[in-house]
Symmetry: C2
Subunit: 335 residues, 2 copies
């Protein structure tokens, strides 16, 4: 049995609005009235109906987080941080899985769940700037690489800089034939493009040639794709002495393929990844990686959303950058 304000009001002998005032912490309520109401609330185990409240107030206290796939560890870890950060604002998080397809992402962004949520934190893969431009300017924060000239707030990390830095680290270790795994030619591959740019920058800065043959593409960024790409590199005969994988799951797949080929990491081939997922801290060998500050990304995203909700909805879009650092582990340590 569910109770309403009306039931509480009758039990406490006050008006419905007075109960509402107590629930909402309105100050001008006599202490004894408040006590009576609170007692009635407790006795009936009353809980506000959020839909009704939303209908009236226009706020649900629910935000959505949309990610391509939940069982990609990076997104799972990110989701955890977003849920935690949102809790500080009293928000519940509705998590949506887009699958990464452009059409599905458009549906999510345009808001199938429109009226149930106050705002959206969105990590798009395939969405283009035009897609975004066609939408209502609902409160939305984008995560990840910039969708150029998009009208929404976003939180990014410096993909180019991070990729340059970790590639330079490999060069600093004396590696000269550095492969890259994860390149993508599709429009979805914004992260891939930026990381490839950083990789190429670092090579150029060190006076090394950019060799097409050392760059392997991967349509998705799962372990299996990393393993397949690594096998491809090995059979093509390019003999790399290091590999920069554009994320950690690719790198874990690459480790596996190197292991199967009988090559030692890092002695024969050094391997680095990107994302700092937990797996990489326990893999054999442990994985050197770029560690974006996921907690900070989540916090910034939630804060941006909060400001957008409370502030001017038409204010100019903002871009915040979250820090990262290199995590040096066994997969690059020269013994």
């Amino acid at each position: 049995m569910r109770h309403r304000l009306k039931d509480v009001a009758e039990r406490a002998g006050v008006s419905v609005k007075t109960v509402s005032n107590v629930v909402n912490g309105y100050v001008h309520v006599r202490p004894d009235t408040r006590a009576r109401v609170e007692e009635a609330i407790a006795e009936l185990n009353y809980r506000p109906n959020l839909s009704a409240r939303h209908l009236r107030k226009g706020r649900t206290g629910v935000i959505a987080l949309a990610v391509p796939e939940l069982d990609i560890p990076y997104f799972a870890e990110l989701a955890r941080h977003v849920v935690t950060a949102a809790a500080d604002f009293g928000w519940t998080v509705l998590i949506d899985q887009t699958g990464g397809g452009r059409e599905q992402e458009r549906v999510v962004a345009s808001g199938i769940t429109d009226h149930l949520i106050d705002g959206l934190i969105f990590s798009p893969l395939a969405l283009t700037a035009e897609d975004l431009a066609g939408l209502d300017n609902r409160p939305m924060v984008l995560l990840g690489e910039r969708v150029d000239h998009g009208p929404a707030d976003h939180v990014v990390i410096d993909n180019v800089g991070a990729a340059r830095e970790i590639t330079s680290h490999l060069i600093g270790l004396g590696r000269r034939r550095i492969a890259a795994i994860g390149s993508q030619r599709t429009p979805e591959g914004a992260s891939a493009r930026l990381r490839l740019t950083g990789y190429a920058d670092a090579l150029r800065a060190a006076g090394l040639d950019y060799d097409e043959a050392l760059v392997a593409s991967a349509s998705a960024w799962h372990r299996a794709d990393g393993a397949a790409a690594m096998r491809g590199l090995l059979t093509s005969g390019v003999r790399p002495d290091a590999v920069f994988c554009f994320n950690d799951t690719l790198a874990l797949g690459a480790l596996r393929a190197l292991h199967e080929a009988g090559l030692r990491v890092p002695e024969d081939v050094a391997v680095v990844g990107f994302d700092d997922i937990e797996d990489g801290r326990f893999s054999i060998p442990t994985l050197t990686t770029v560690a974006p500050d996921k907690a900070q990304i989540a916090r910034l995203a939630v804060e941006l959303l909060a400001e957008r909700l409370d502030g001017d909805p038409t204010a100019a879009a903002r871009e915040l950058s979250a820090p990262y650092r290199l995590e040096l582990r066994e997969s690059t340590q020269t013994p």
Copy 2:
């Protein structure tokens, strides 16, 4: 700018209710009227307000999934399957992270988000039967080990049987000093208790002694706990020739600790896990494990919830069992 039924109605020159009828697929609407309304809907990009609909109908089309931690791969993979299964019913999934604490779980179960969701799929760690008994009988499906005599539907797998089977597999390989990692004495450890029972059953059936010294506890089931427990076993001098870890992340941690100790897997020590997370298919060595049918678990849970929502809410609680199978991989393969 957001539009309402009223706006569409004015534009199409019909009543509000007729628009509602079109939106809801009511049959008795003349084709030309329907066309006019649909045109107006498209022009205004109308989308129903879910809160208002919920307030009126008592259904939101949103269900919640509550899991202890999202970045535990097992739960992330499960979440993915639940989202997929729910989509077939036209449901959106709100994902809640409980942290696994009893108090937080009670809050979730009692329904902070009560009125926004139609039902709850819940994977509890710490919740007790008494906690559950104190709640309204809202539509709820529990996942995982049984909370004895709980009033809610649940979907389980045969933990005891699966643990017995995989332990027997180790015995069949000729292993005799089989350790177990993941035992828990806390009331939270229902899964741990069941898996330990299966382990002990298998030993007894093979005429092997159950040796306390071979059973390592782990307060949580993360990689770090598995690594720590394995190190503990190794330094205690019990010299196991196989280890049954109560989940895959524990096993991955154990692999790591064995590697650091210079022991070979499976030659010196065979390792098995439980859950079949993706990591175990690419770890070095790949991990033999119990593979619960996660897709089936998710589908059964969603179906149970659907039946509970449509059917008699006071009907007796049901318990469904999902299948599992053994995945034999490198970590137990005798070379």
